[in-house]
Each structure stands twice: as structure tokens, then as C-alpha cells.
């Protein structure tokens, strides 16, 4: 079966020569939910930006990332944007429209959906993410959690096949976090979640990839990896509390 995401020997350096990724390879199957963890500066965000073709800036003939077997190229990058949706760390970066409605409608308007249908869909999606009737609110007066949901709604309305989330719980209070967890659980698409919120990873992802210094240092079953205290500490992480008293073989 063609993997949803296939990354082969991906390397990337920033302008100043800093090596952000050095030879990263992995495959993610359809409908998998994979956690991506690692210390600050490990290259998580950089890796995520490659998954929908925002990086590298200059594309050669050969791309290290393939989505559903199709290597990302200048020709198909628009489709890739539609297939792979990215939720960015800071919701404010994503919300630039004057109203919530406009922002959620940003995607569908591009492929010429009728305004009536958009209106219906926006209402439905806003309800799905738990903020019904927010259409006419202005994004910069929403709370952090509400902004996050508007962002998510703007992505979900495009029916992406892969959802890429960068630190989705960073600005959320515990209730907002728990609700987001439920929303994410109910979205059946392939997901890759980068986070320092290890409990979230334990809750959502069966598989985890550990990234440090731009390299994959571990890739496997979440419970196995995250309860490996030595490995976790070595890479600036720690064993999550919920696994502290868990028998290794469950």
C-alpha cells in the first residue's frame, strides 16, 4: 500500500548554514496518527514545513517528500496544499481575515464553491470544532483556544487527507486542551502531531518519532519509547507522568 507520507533522506540547512535536518527518512501509513517529539530546535517545525511543500524554498527535480506516492513538485504543490493541511504553532499567524467566517471560507472560496454552500459548510464545521455561531466575530478578539479552533475549522473545511499539527495545545487551558483532544480523536484522517505535550501524544498517537539535532533517534510504539526514561532524558524529554506507574508490558 502506498504510504500517506514518505520521506526519504531529507536534509535541509538554513541560509546561515545551520543544519536543521540531516538525512531524515520515515513512512507514515494512511490513517496512522504519529507523534513527533524532540527538544526545542530539534527540527520538528522545519520537518513539518516540508510535508506540504512550504520548504525547501528552491525545489530541485528530486523531492525527498512524497505524499500518497507522489513526489512534491512545483506543478503539484497546489494540490499538496489541499491534501496536507498544517495547523501552525501560533494561531495568529493563520488568522488574517477580518472575520471568523472569512477565514474559514478562505479555502473553499478558492475553488469556486457557491457562497450558499460555503455558508452551510462553515456553520457545520464551526459546530464540529465546538464554536458554533462564531461567524461574525473578529479573530483578534477571540481567546487563545477559540482562535485555535477557528484555525482548525479553516483546515477541516478543505477535507484534507493529512493533518499536520505543530504544538496544537501550546496556548490552551486544560479544558481547551481536553476538548481539542476529543475533536482530534474524532477526525479520522492521517495525523502527524509535533508537541512537547507528551500526555497528548500518549493519548492520541500509537506511534512516535523522536527527533534530535535534525536526526531521527527513535521511531516506534509510543508507550515503549516514552517509557524509556534513559532515552527520553538524553534527548531533553521526560517520561510522561501517566506512564510512570505503567507495567512495561501493560
Amino acid at each position: 500500500m502506498t504510504p500517506a507520507i514518505e520521506v526519504t533522506n531529507l536534509a535541509y540547512s538554513y541560509h546561515d548554514g545551520t543544519e536543521a535536518l540531516r538525512g531524515v527518512s520515515f513512512k507514515i501509513q494512511n490513517d496512522e496518527c504519529v507523534g513527533l517529539i524532540g527538544p526545542n530546535g530539534a527540527g520538528k517545525s522545519t520537518l513539518l514545513l516540508h510535508l506540504n511543500g512550504l520548504l525547501p524554498e528552491k525545489r530541485g527535480n528530486h523531492s525527498a517528500v512524497a505524499i500518497f506516492g507522489e513526489s512534491i513538485s512545483t506543478e503539484n504543490v497546489n494540490e499538496i496544499h489541499r491534501e496536507v493541511a498544517v495547523l501552525f504553532q501560533n494561531p495568529d499567524d493563520q488568522l488574517f481575515c477580518p472575520t471568523v467566517y472569512d477565514d474559514v471560507a478562505f479555502g473553499p472560496r478558492q475553488w469556486g464553491m457557491s457562497e450558499e454552500e460555503i455558508k452551510f459548510k462553515v456553520g457545520k464545521i464551526l459546530a464540529q470544532v465546538g464554536i458554533p455561531h462564531f461567524e461574525n466575530r473578529s479573530p483578534h478578539h477571540l481567546s487563545g483556544g477559540e482562535k485555535q479552533r477557528v484555525c482548525l475549522a479553516g483546515l477541516l473545511i478543505c477535507d484534507p487527507k493529512i493533518l499536520v499539527l505543530d504544538e496544537p495545545t501550546r496556548d490552551l487551558d486544560p479544558r481547551g486542551r481536553r476538548e481539542l483532544l476529543q475533536i482530534l480523536k474524532n477526525i479520522p484522517t492521517t495525523k502527524i502531531i509535533a508537541s512537547h505535550d507528551l500526555e497528548l501524544i500518549v493519548n492520541l498517537c500509537a506511534r512516535t518519532i523522536v527527533l534530535d539535532h535534525g536526526k531521527i533517534v527513535a521511531d516506534g510504539d509510543t508507550l515503549d519509547l516514552l517509557s524509556n526514561e534513559k532515552m527520553m532524558l538524553e534527548h531533553g524529554l521526560e517520561k510522561p507522568h501517566s506512564l510512570q506507574h505503567l507495567h512495561p508490558h501493560k
Binding site: H15, D16, L49, N52, L54, N78, E79, H81, R82, V84, A85, V86, F88, N90, D92, D93, Q94, F96, C97, P98, F106, G107, R109, Q110, W111, H140, G154, L155, C158
Partner: protein, 203 residues
């Protein structure tokens, strides 16, 4: 966007970089005053100044390509101002003079900003009793310019990842929305920065 796009080379080492900040700033400003004060058609002095700048460029070890590209980037502003003189009687000569004068001035400022770290210029300004408010404004300007660039780049990224068409109309429309949003955020950020500064005793 590179963070150091204004003064990428300001922290290198070269005979010019090693000169004292005050010497560089005073020379640059006097040169500017001379250039501004020169009457049109002083071709000889123009070429003399240009000749004087060449050894500075060589000694500073700045890449010529970089300087030229920056000049080309700034030239539209010069042309925008000087083009009006073409409609005057004998305007061609004035036009050429203005272009030469402003290009020289720009080159000098480019050299100064790329051979002297900005904070050293600020320290000097404080020393020579430039009103502290103005120095603070310059310092904040320099500091938050990069935050703004970062922010616009991130917004750009988020927008691109939700763009599925190549339609120019659509791209320009969302670009305009982004710019206006950036304005709003800048004023809001300014308020937050101001309160954070006051919270730490600034007055």
C-alpha cells in the same frame, strides 16, 4: 527572510570594520552634508567622491554584488523623487545630478550600516547627546523590524499552505488582507510593548 538583510556584513572583520564607530559615523555624515550641499553640475567633485569611496569598499571586503543589489533595490525611491525634475526647464541635468547625489549618499549609508553594528551607532548617538527618546525609537525600530519580518513571513507561510490556486487576483486579495492585519497587529504589539516597558519602570 534572512534576519540580517539590512546589515548582513556589519559584524565582520576588515580594516574598515575595525575603525572606531565615531570616526565612521562622523565621516559618513560629513560626506552626506557635502553631497547634499553640492550644487548641480559639480561633476568633478562627484567623481572625486566616488573615487574616494572605492578604496573604502575594497578595504571593507564587502561583496560588490551585495552592494550593487542593495543599491538597485533602493534606486526606485531615488528615481521616484528625481523624475519630477525632468518636467522642468533644463531638467535633465538636475535629474542626473539628483540621481548621482542620492546614489552616492545611499552607497555611503550602505557602507556605514554594513561596517558598523547598529548598537554601536546607538551608543554613539547617546554619547553625543541626541535626545534619548529618539535613540530609543531607533533602537525599538531596529529590534522590532525583525519581529515584523518574522511575523509577516509566518503569515505568508500559513496563507500559502492554504492556497490552492495560482489566480493572481486571489493572491493579491489575500496579500492585501494580510498587510492590513499586519498593521493592526503592529499597533497592538506596540501597546503591549509599551505596557511591558512601563511595567519594568520605563517612563
Amino acid at each position: 527572510m534572512r534576519h540580517d538583510f539590512i546589515d548582513r556584513y556589519s559584524r565582520q572583520k576588515s580594516p574598515i570594520h575595525n575603525l572606531s564607530t565615531s570616526l565612521k559615523v562622523v565621516t559618513a555624515i560629513s560626506a552626506l552634508i557635502v553631497i547634499v550641499a553640492l550644487p548641480h553640475k559639480s561633476w568633478l567633485v562627484f567623481s572625486l567622491l566616488a573615487l574616494l569611496i572605492i578604496p573604502v569598499i575594497v578595504l571593507s571586503k564587502l561583496p560588490i554584488r551585495f552592494l550593487l543589489l542593495r543599491l538597485i533595490m533602493l534606486e526606485p525611491f531615488v528615481l521616484g523623487v528625481s523624475i519630477l525634475s525632468l518636467f522642468k526647464e533644463g531638467g535633465t541635468i538636475i535629474f542626473i545630478s539628483i540621481v548621482i547625489k542620492s546614489t552616492l549618499a545611499l552607497l555611503i549609508m550602505l557602507l556605514l550600516s554594513n561596517t558598523t553594528p547598529f548598537e554601536q551607532i546607538l551608543t554613539l548617538l547617546k554619547k553625543i547627546k541626541i535626545p534619548p527618546l529618539m535613540v530609543t525609537i531607533l533602537a525599538l525600530f531596529y529590534r522590532y523590524l525583525f519581529v515584523l519580518i518574522d511575523e509577516s513571513e509566518k503569515m505568508q507561510r500559513a496563507r500559502m499552505s492554504r492556497t490552492f490556486t495560482n489566480s493572481k487576483k486571489h493572491i493579491w486579495k489575500s496579500r492585501i488582507q494580510m498587510i492590513s492585519e499586519l498593521f493592526i497587529r503592529s499597533t497592538e504589539r506596540a501597546e503591549r510593548i509599551y505596557s511591558a516597558m512601563r511595567a519594568r519602570g520605563w517612563s
